[in-house]
């Protein structure tokens, strides 16, 4: 009885991350548009 109680508590403890909110994901977005064939300025 006692041991099954501890198993339940342990399982709940281990399962906690599954119920916890997924943290935010920081990332970097680098973007461009309309480069129009520009490789280097003319002059």
């Amino acid at each position: 009885m006692k041991s099954s109680f501890f198993i339940c508590v342990a399982l709940l403890f281990l399962a906690q991350p599954l119920f916890a909110a997924k943290p935010g994901q920081p990332f970097l977005l680098l973007y461009s548009n309309d480069v129009h064939g520009e490789t280097a300025p003319c002059g």
């Binding site: 909110a21 997924k22 943290p23 935010g24 994901q25 920081p26 990332f27 970097l28 977005l29 680098l30 973007y31 461009s32 548009n33 309309d34 480069v35 129009h36 064939g37 520009e38 490789t39 280097a40 300025p41 003319c42 002059g43």
Partner: protein, 470 residues
């Protein structure tokens, strides 16, 4: 400004400094300068396009949208070129006319830490060759299903759109699950990101003059902080600032008594107190509204955007710099070959600046001190003197479609000479009285070359003074 090697260097540096997952995207219209290709410049344009793809490989782009302008050398050319790309070329609506099957990938998925970003591409209206069996489907025929499908397997959805701005606006208003639209071809200027419902739209200035950098913190709730959340943060900031100001008055035990004989100071103190009251009420109200709207764990996602100008002084990405140097050499070689065959019109209506100087020596001397006189030298310094995209605006009397002729001009037509502003001078030199020349050019003439992308700060009234002579 501008330049692939500067962009390459900055992208790498910013990503290294940030030490967080990076997504690198281009919304399209990257390969070619104009909406059509001058037949004399096809080879040069193709060399440039291939170099751009190679540079994008080195930069580490994840995906690029097929812009309508990227198709001007023909669909088969772009298909062949896309095989050299390490990034995905995307277009969900450029399809085979007969089977409606897309020519390129419709979407791609990029893993960023613990989330996945889905990226979709849409091509704008394009002129396609009848032999290609190709067509551009209207976006509303492909987007609804694709959004549902892509949203299922991704945490965040980004649309690379080459569509007209009004269509992007409609998409943003209708699709809450498209979180970001990066646009091409929609505007000549930057569009600072602004949320429309749950979609942010952005684009940078054209011709590689700028890059867009967005730090995003994407939350599981998959929604951006709404305007009220942003307002709440602003108001809290204002309150902090105000409390700092009030604190200066509250150094004494009783400011009311201490300021009794300083009515201006007392008024200012009272004004700050009432502002504090108003701010506290507003913050309380906003907090209540946001609390109602977002119970539990519903933290909004945030972004912080900035644009970075690619100034001349910035360092270069060494490999891309070498690549551009190699390209310039290849363009030079190609153009030198063409120069032999490109004969300057015999009996050209243009005389050259020395011819003008015979009768107008002081004006010629004055002109020689201007930047116009050194316009060709700047190309030589940049080793671009054979680049037909550059030449028409750095020599005298050559329109863009005749760029190849600029390769074999006499020395006194190299540079922006007298006849660029005053018109062809040969007939005038033969009969000055009966064939007058343009005395002072109007802004429309200057704007042929001083276009916004090349010379954003051009003001006719200011610049004309720099070339005036009597």
């Amino acid at each position: 400004m501008g330049g692939l090697s500067k962009k390459g260097f900055q992208f790498k540096k910013i990503a290294d400094d940030a030490a967080r997952p990076r997504l690198t995207l281009d919304a399209g219209a990257l390969l070619f300068k104009h909406d059509t290709i001058n037949p004399a410049q096809v080879e040069q344009e193709k060399l440039t396009a291939a170099a751009i793809v190679e540079a994008y490989n080195l930069i580490g782009y994840d995906a690029v949208c097929v812009g309508s302008q990227d198709l001007i050398a023909g669909l088969p050319y772009l298909q062949a070129l896309s095989k050299d790309a390490k990034f995905a070329w995307l277009s969900a609506n450029l399809v085979k006319k007969s089977t409606k099957k897309p020519f390129f990938k419709t979407s791609t998925s990029v893993k960023l830490g613990n989330i996945k970003a889905g990226v979709i591409g849409l091509t704008g209206p394009a002129i396609l060759s009848a032999t290609d069996d190709a067509m551009i489907l209207p976006w509303d025929q492909v987007l609804p299903d694709l959004v549902v499908k892509t949203a299922k397997t991704n945490d965040l959805l980004i649309l690379l759109s080459n569509l007209p701005a009004a269509d992007n606006q409609r998409i943003a208003e209708s699709y809450l699950t498209i979180h970001l639209i990066l646009q091409s071809g929609a505007s000549a200027n930057t569009i600072s990101p602004e949320p429309i419902n749950n979609t942010i739209m952005a684009s940078t200035a054209p011709q590689g003059k700028q890059i867009g950098i967005m730090e995003i913190n994407w939350q599981p709730a998959k929604r951006w902080a709404d305007s009220r959340t942003v307002l709440l943060a602003t108001r809290k900031g204002s309150l902090d600032h105000l409390l700092g100001e009030l604190n200066k008055y509250q150094q004494v035990k009783n400011p009311e008594t201490a300021l009794r004989n300083q009515p201006d100071q007392l008024n200012a103190y009272h004004s700050l107190l009432s502002q504090e009251q108003a701010l506290r009420s507003e913050i309380e109200l906003l907090s209540k509204e946001i609390g109602k709207q977002a119970p539990g764990n519903n933290e909004p996602s945030t972004y912080n955007n900035r644009f970075m100008a690619m100034e001349k002084e910035l360092p270069d990405h060494p490999e891309i710099a070498r690549l551009v140097e190699k390209l310039d050499a290849a363009v030079n070689k190609l153009s030198q070959r063409q120069a032999g065959s490109a004969a300057v019109q015999a009996n050209s209506p243009y005389l050259g600046f020395r011819g003008c100087g015979t009768c107008h020596p002081s004006q010629m001397a004055s002109w020689q001190q201007t930047k116009h006189a050194k316009a060709y030298a700047t190309l030589e310094n940049k080793k671009q003197q054979f680049n037909q995209n550059c030449l028409p605006c750095h020599v005298t009397g050559i329109a863009i479609p005749q760029a190849a002729e600029a390769l074999s001009l006499p020395e006194d037509r190299l540079g922006v000479g007298c006849e660029t502003c005053h018109g062809p001078g040969r007939r005038h030199s033969e009969n000055p009285k009966n064939t007058p020349i343009t005395k002072k050019p109007g802004p429309e003439l200057c704007l042929n070359c001083h276009t916004a992308p090349h010379d954003q700060d051009f003001r006719y009234d200011e610049r004309i003074k720099m070339v005036e002579h009597h």
